[in-house]
Point group: C2
Chain length 404, copies 2
């Protein structure tokens, strides 16, 4: 029998408890041993909930119990999650977490610590919720040099963009609707500004290349500036606007960003709509591989956590090696990253032609039918070249990177 | 250093050799040890190919060499692949294969043998080519009771259906084009009759439930009877025709089949076109998860094989337990499986109304504009009920199961 404890009885933590109970027999059969929930840590009480029988308020009880071999961390936030996880690993307990902030900030250190104790630190649920991506990246795609990762990594923003696209609504209206439906938080900043996706692409990229990509170093642009007009132009151009966390290998360096992108129906992520997430990985041998599913949600995310618990159960005192050094990944400076750009400018094409041509070269005007503006798509240029040209033109309303 | 040998220097085998060479450094770093190719077995000679240095014509050399720890079987066919694999496993060598026929026919026996020798028998490449599906099913989805698997498991038939749909061509014309492009074999039977997909869904279903599903027991219907008119009706109904290998848990039994299906844009596999494959798995906790990529092709398939080789390298003398007993899975009899059916009948709706209503209940006629026939979609009924009703009606031209 393997004894498990859960830190944090919130959405994901209670989902983990539910799966361990509901799928008890299947899990036991597949692990070859029974998994028993010994403690659940939470500051709150849950009168009437069966969890009461195993509920503790003091982390030390779990830390000090040598019977507890596997600890699930579903508290979220950096502190005290970091201190608790560290203590568990130091005492040779394996830890499975859904906490992307913790993994993005302390991944290499906690992996190293786990290794030194022949324990494991696993975090499948930290990216893509229920979508298997961390383990496939470490195992199934291990023969490949990863050339590119593009992910729709945040369900809230994908829901908002989908709804804006399908119903022609503006950002504020859809955000309100998403908040009412529980798809967006009361304070939606982490989602709509791209910070959540940023931590996730930092984790995936660090794993793909085995070195640390600090999320603070990733250029991050959210969806708050996307308007009904942007969406309408996108449709006119045969595309859709999505927000990607992406990274790409360029020589010995890696370029990474979080930003909206205009894509067309040829793109494998084109039909990933609503709250679903998907991650496209391009390997130098396997080509394009895509993983799709529920990027959030209690049971989907908890299922990913439990898959890690089962992996730990099959690797007692055996470290599953994860290459992710503290050494920093060499990033391509943002001004050298290359894209095509969709650009909206105020005024009419004939007024702007001379300066636009001087700045961007010859471009094809797209009439949105608004009378006071038009748009065009540039050739592939660097971010630096785009910024310079946009400054020269002066009357740019908005720009979106284009993958089509 | 871990010594590897490859049986069969055909498309996939030569791809494996290429990946072991081209991605040598990445693979060594990720395994933590060097993988060295010791022998390649093939009856042919390859003058001028670097493989000459390791080429052998006699399997016994590989079988008898205790240094060879991992054997890749990419010969295809049942014999002598089965005998060779068995010999290797008996001698404690791990085997990684891309051979779906071998796995579908002898999976439980070879897994049992591997286990008894603390070796491994892995077969990621046997389903979905480069798409990670076998390993995710065994690990990432392990907490879940699998409720349903639906896969576009064969690139040839997906290419043919896509081309028929996009260009309004008939089956024979597109098959010829596919053969010229190398997407279909000279003898296309195994693909177009669904036999290839049948073996693959047999493997996936056996793994999902841990018991043997014999491919001979799976109802299998290919795409040779799909006509331009079927495709045109499908479009009119807002759908596309795809061929799925699928299985579904119904109570304590499982229903499985290979057959064309009419699906609409809401279906996660709707936009999987051309030679691409994708597999949708529904778990009772994780919900819908989809895996997408190149279902065939030299390097994509070889990448899956090499991922298995790397897994074996990290599990020397440690069996990775795979639940797949020889005991037979309880199948729902085909006549009890339930679907909605798209049905084409000759004549006009008014001539047929009485007998169609008597047989299928009240249905909405769909006019294809052909003058000599029309179509309708039934409610969800059993296969048995469909067959009975179709016999009663008498003048059915074709039927396709509907998932929309």
């Amino acid at each position: 029998m393997i004894k498990v404890s859960v830190l944090g009885y919130g959405t994901v933590g209670s989902g983990v408890v539910e799966i361990l109970r509901e799928n008890h027999d299947i899990i036991q059969k597949r692990v070859g041993e029974e998994l028993q929930l010994k403690y659940v840590l939470d500051l709150r009480d849950f009168p009437g909930d069966p969890v009461e029988q195993v509920l503790v308020h003091d982390f030390q009880i779990i830390a000090d119990d040598p019977e507890v071999q596997i600890v699930v961390e579903t508290m979220g936030g950096l502190h005290p999650a970091y201190e608790f996880v560290k203590t568990c690993l130091e005492r040779g307990k394996s830890v499975c977490t859904s906490n992307k902030a913790l993994v993005a900030a302390y991944g290499p250190e906690l992996l190293e610590l786990a290794k030194s104790r022949n324990a494991n630190f696993l975090f499948e649920a930290s990216v893509g919720g229920g979508i298997p991506i961390i383990r496939p990246l470490k195992t199934s795609l291990a023969p490949d040099e990863i050339q590119e990762i593009s992910g729709i990594l945040n369900g809230t923003t994908n829901y908002i963009l989908t709804k804006m696209t399908e119903e022609g609504l503006d950002f504020d209206t859809v955000l309100k609707d998403a908040q009412e439906k529980g798809y967006a938080e009361k304070d939606p900043t982490a989602d709509v500004e791209g910070y959540d996706a940023c931590r996730k692409i930092a984790i995936l990229t660090s794993l793909a290349y085995g070195k640390q990509l600090d999320f603070e170093d990733i250029y991050t642009e959210g969806i708050t500036k996307i308007t009904k007009r942007d969406i309408a132009y996108g449709k006119k151009l045969g595309g859709k606007i999505k927000i990607f966390g992406s990274s790409r290998k360029i020589g010995d360096k890696v370029s990474a960003m979080v930003a909206p992108a205009l894509i067309d129906a040829q793109h494998p992520l084109y039909s990933v709509d609503g709250v679903f997430n998907a991650i496209l990985v391009k390997g130098n041998m396997v080509g394009d591989v895509m993983f799709y599913g529920q990027g959030a949600g209690k049971l989907a995310t908890a299922s990913a956590v439990v898959s890690d618990v089962m992996d730990c159960s099959k690797h007692v005192n055996v470290n599953i090696n994860t290459l992710w050094d503290a050494e920093k990944l060499d990033l391509v400076p943002m001004e050298d990253a290359r894209s095509k750009f969709f650009v909206r400018v105020s005024g009419a094409p004939e007024e702007n032609r001379e300066k636009v041509t001087a700045a961007f070269g010859s471009v094809q005007p797209v009439d949105g039918g608004y009378g006071d503006e038009y748009a065009f798509v540039t050739e592939e240029i660097t971010e630096g070249a785009y910024e310079k040209a946009a400054r020269e033109v002066g009357n740019v309303i908005n720009k979106i990177r284009v993958q089509m």
